[in-house]
Symmetry: C2
Subunit: 196 residues, 2 copies
Amino acid sequence: MSRVTCDLTISLDGFVAGPNQSLEEPLGAGGKNLHRWQFEEPEANAAERAGILAAGAYIMGRNMFAGPGAWAEEWRGWWGEEPPYHAPVFVLTHSPRRPLLMQGGTTFNFVSDGIESALAQAREAAGSKDVAIAGGAQTARQYLSAGLVDELRLHIAPVVLGAGERLLDGVANLKLVPTEVGGTRLVTHVRYQVVR
Amino acid sequence: MSRVTCDLTISLDGFVAGPNQSLEEPLGAGGKNLHRWQFEEPEANAAERAGILAAGAYIMGRNMFAGPGAWAEEWRGWWGEEPPYHAPVFVLTHSPRRPLLMQGGTTFNFVSDGIESALAQAREAAGSKDVAIAGGAQTARQYLSAGLVDELRLHIAPVVLGAGERLLDGVANLKLVPTEVGGTRLVTHVRYQVVR
């Protein structure tokens, strides 16, 4: 059966975003520094970057799709007309909406009956490929807390943010085994198998 | 010149100890799990364990020497008559006290005039060897915040404690570059060079 994976970039002090997130600074103060490894070292981190987009279907939270702004029927996501997913994406929301077909194979499907329903739909869509929890942190926490993630891939940036949104706050009973480590001067990659 | 190093084992959510530290549970609830890598996999982690005790002099906080209990003149530390340091140890305290000579080359020296004085004395004692900040977390934070640490070696246990004492809370302006990563199923080792 396909696995459920979750890639997240966090600071050394455990934040996925800095304080004072806004439309201008969606990652909060200092939060952009978390992702330097993706933009400044694309080749050295090619395998990890590819891994983030290797799934057969994706699940994301409402805030990742729409940001902190108001939900508008005409909103088509942050990624332009050809999002990088090239696969079905299931967006958790309380506001049902018709699917949104984008260019390049990405379809945004809106799921309003819970995380388990979204996962069932994503599994069906992914076939033999993995299902990726694409974010944000709140959605990742929900799936981790429910014991529905098989592999957590943390990309630990050597950055101390001091405040912001913590990935693991409130996630209890998580048993992890690191299975692979690596990295560069801008990031440490650790793959964790979630033990049940 | 010799470097200043600091080894610390932390949970994946950034804690050096769990909640409710006490004499019975000095590492707090769940805190013992942080150190499984040292006790259950001594050979696989031999290099990292040796590195913790390779310095020419050590600095530790009062709480690491005496624990949360009362400070008593007759207290000789947690390590028995032959502590594992085999070198001068400088203990930060507000209560001056005569040096304590232990077996095997460890001497506990009590320093009451601040962290920079302790470092100067430790450097002098270490000669060409490194000076290690032995802990606890509060002492590590003081030296990190003051920009006095050259290499931070984190041993990240795949454990989520949920609450307790966080290593990096309040440490600002810390610039780090990971220089080496490795690990086992019980720990991920990351060496960070502190950039000034």
